[in-house]
Symmetry: C2
Amino acid sequence: MNDKNICDDPCPIARCLAFLGDAWSLLILRDAHFGLTRFDQFRKNLGIGPAILTRRLATLTAEGLLEKRLYSERPPREEYVLTAAGRDFLPVLFTIGAWGRKYRGEGRLVRILDAETGAEIRPVLVDEVTGIKIGDRPICIAEPDGD
Amino acid sequence: MNDKNICDDPCPIARCLAFLGDAWSLLILRDAHFGLTRFDQFRKNLGIGPAILTRRLATLTAEGLLEKRLYSERPPREEYVLTAAGRDFLPVLFTIGAWGRKYRGEGRLVRILDAETGAEIRPVLVDEVTGIKIGDRPICIAEPDGD
DNA sequence: TAATGTTACTATCAATTTGAAAGTAAGTCA
DNA sequence: TGACTTACTTTCAAATTGATAGTAACATTA
């Protein structure tokens, strides 16, 4: 995709997808949310080639979703941890997972639980004000005003 | 990405991303939600090359998010409309947009409104049972039982 | 009837990206 | 001294993308 012009696109979906719109980046973020932080953990868990992983981690770091942190001085070793922006990406992963569960849910699937209560989490997207489920009512789009 | 083995992955996020994990597919779905249905509408609005658009529409159709519908017999013309699975993808687009608005929201952005009330929609992801916002509590993952 | 337009593509091809495998750098450990 | 660990880089064939041009089937206009 031609990222350059998409960054100026007035659509926030396009702006997000300009650099996060690929499967590896999202799977890295998923693993980061499940507690992975190190290069080799991501590499082994995803089965991704190291060159691609290097590039994806660099992009996610440059875009502010991950940050490098030194976890050992001797030998010098760095790991990748989620930033606030990275942590705020969790709802995206959850909604993707909810769709996958509903439409590609054949066979055994992992479930996501509340770490303290152990209850399974069932995400629903609602309007913050009205509480109405997204998708239950027709929507339209408002262009940015003025020029 | 090597889609083949990912389809058997027990993670619903991975299963969804196996064929929808690229920016063009998501932008096509976004446009479909905003009412576009025809090849040339997508092509012009996205500035995507026709060969890539053809392939993406074929995948989205094969995967059951869009379906072809004849809208003219003479000349024979087909358009692409969202299926139930495609319509259920809306929350994914909304959460991506919400992240983009928060972290890439410089300058003017389009907004999404309730088509009837005109009120701006502000999506939040909550747990269906408890109503607690996703991200406010720590999570853990449960592997599928048995074997 | 001929020329032009519309729509949904296919064909071509250079440039970029991926995927797989091997190699490397800076250390530690026995 | 030699093996091991971790986080990469290098290499290169194969696949995918992006840009552009062309085509097929019809309708419309002159």
